[in-house]
Subunit: 359 residues, 2 copies
């Protein structure tokens, strides 16, 4: 695995987990599952068992550099790659590919979000290794697809061709955006749809060729710095390059267009922890199905709630069913779990009211 390099993407602001997740300390830096460590640290630990520590990079917004350093003190400074601004995943992947390709022309890249849950790390390792072995010998773009266990409408789906197996990978037929419930049920029944995990494996060379073909504007943008990567000039070049770079996701910009995409169906107890409800699903619950984080939460006649409060705050809840209650030092949120997609509108409202300091 010495040519395998991991990019843990930790630049998101986790707005769907507001107010637990804040712009200053987004979700990936929080121990949101109550395991005793942040999601970023858990992701890092998972990869430490797969590739050499020196091959792990954290891609994050420059403003979170110190947070990453603090949570992952074993990393050298140049393993934390700071983005000067938020530009979605495609620019970030291009930057990483150019940079690592220059250090190691044989480099294989593993691109992974920093804030997902993996309950079966052994199975996860096995799947990643399958992908690394396969891409070593093939110029394909490999993505990990999760075998669905319910008709989830919060995930994108990947359809694969059942008879196309090669080295544990399958040819991808289509990517599908988040479906409605009835479509999701059809997907689940058909057996050839997988959840899109957003975890990718490919050679640096392969993804750069894909950028050149499908996103030439981004390719050219970062190609211009070819003599600056891994030098003192990198930072200032990147600052300029990002400012002129389009904002586009790797899924939309490349995966949905390329015809050399393959998927590995996997089951490693995965969740993107993308919503309060999905977090709730993975929490330990009391007899009335309340998921509680906080040492002094007293619950009476309440059920199916997700409660998060500081350990030193006394919280008394009565009579609620299916609510999210998040209390922080300066913000209290009480919201129906079924309405959580509206939290985004609320945070927009807050911005409009010039109360950005609460975001």
């Amino acid at each position: 695995m010495k040519h395998a390099y991991v990019a843990i993407m930790a630049g998101g602001i986790g707005s769907r987990f507001w107010p637990a997740s804040r712009e200053e300390t987004p979700k990936q830096f929080l121990d949101i599952l109550g395991t005793g460590q942040s999601l970023l640290k858990s992701t890092f630990d998972r990869f430490k068992k797969i590739v050499p520590l020196s091959n792990i990079y954290i891609l994050t917004n420059e403003r979170y550099r110190d947070l990453v350093k603090k949570q992952l003190p074993k990393l050298k400074d140049d393993q934390i790659i700071g983005e000067p601004m938020r530009r979605n995943t495609a620019p970030c992947v291009a930057y990483f590919a150019f940079k690592i390709q220059q250090l190691d022309p044989q480099a294989q890249l593993i691109i992974a979000p920093s804030d997902h849950l993996v309950l079966k790390p052994k199975e996860f390792r096995k799947t990643i290794k399958t992908a690394v072995y396969y891409t070593a010998g093939n110029d394909d773009l490999v993505t990990l697809g999760i075998r669905p266990v319910r008709p989830d409408t919060g995930y994108g789906y990947i359809q694969y061709l059942d008879d196309s197996e090669e080295g544990g990978t399958y040819r991808v037929k289509t990517f599908t955006e988040k479906p409605g419930l009835s479509l999701a049920k059809t997907f689940l029944e058909s057996g050839d749809f997988l959840w899109n995990s957003g975890i990718f494996i490919w050679k640096a060379k392969t993804i750069l060729e894909s950028f050149e073909k499908h996103l030439p504007e981004i390719y050219d943008n970062f190609f211009r710095g070819i003599d600056k990567y891994n030098s003192e000039k990198e930072a200032s070049f990147i600052k300029k390059a990002y400012s002129t770079c389009p904002n586009i996701s790797i899924d939309f910009g490349i995966m949905e267009k390329a015809n050399n995409v393959r998927v590995i169906p996997a089951s490693f107890g995965w969740s993107d922890l993308g919503t309060w409800s999905s977090l709730y699903e993975h929490y330990e619950k009391d007899y009335y199905s309340n998921a509680v984080s906080g040492k002094r939460v007293m619950v009476y006649d309440a059920a199916n709630c997700m409660v998060m409060a500081p350990d030193d705050k006394l919280v008394v809840l009565q009579g609620l069913d299916n609510y999210i209650i998040v209390d922080t030092e300066d913000v209290l949120l009480i919201f129906e779990k079924t309405e959580e997609q509206k939290i985004k509108e609320i945070t927009d409202d807050i911005k409009r009211k010039k109360l950005g300091k609460f975001l």
Copy 2:
């Protein structure tokens, strides 16, 4: 009115308003209505327009002396009478009567809670004056009865004899504890039942005679200090006297037994603010009938809620109907308004769990 002395009783701990009201700072010391001043201060201001300032006394627990001083800086130290322990209203009234009787043998006493709401202070003044004039010439115990405007089950009721009018007062037939709803409706319809306000007017001499007759144990207890009131020996005598004094209310111990009780039917926009619901009733409300205290409370699809939060806390509420939400620095309470009588059980629970610091 120079022989009229007011005792504002401010020794309660306001447990029904937990967690807004705390043992360290009970309800009467809070601006619980959002008027800009505490209930105690409002009560004090009301009486300042009736009797000379030097005739107003605050009876409170010794631990709240400094709080009273701070809120009512115009009071002299000896106008704050500190009780060494909580012993309900009868001992407190006896103590006050002995003490004032010695200063002014012609004294008339006005006993009033510190934490009630009066919306029509002019009408209130008129009623108090009627009582003071009446008791100046009669050895009766006068109480103020509020003309009921709804079949409230949270108040005690006083039945009076319609044909017994004398100087604006009526003979009391019975005192009734909090009734059930159907009985309360009957009371309301009958027209001769009033709400028991807990505001009393009598001569010091009259009430002392009543103690001697109906509560001789308490009378003897405080009579023993007859040479110590208004001297340096008062405090240590009172400390001992309270420790051996029975815990009993003036209503139960005297009013319900005496046959010289008269009532003045009155309508001065009164509420005892005894419950969250009654506080809610008197709050300004938004279009969806939410009563909100706190400058940064954002309400979405919520109705009929009572919300209290610090001004600097951002609170986002969604989907609640008929709830009490009280957020303080160290306690958050979310409770159905209809279940508020259970808050008492909760605070007992908290005591049992040795979390008394949150009370």
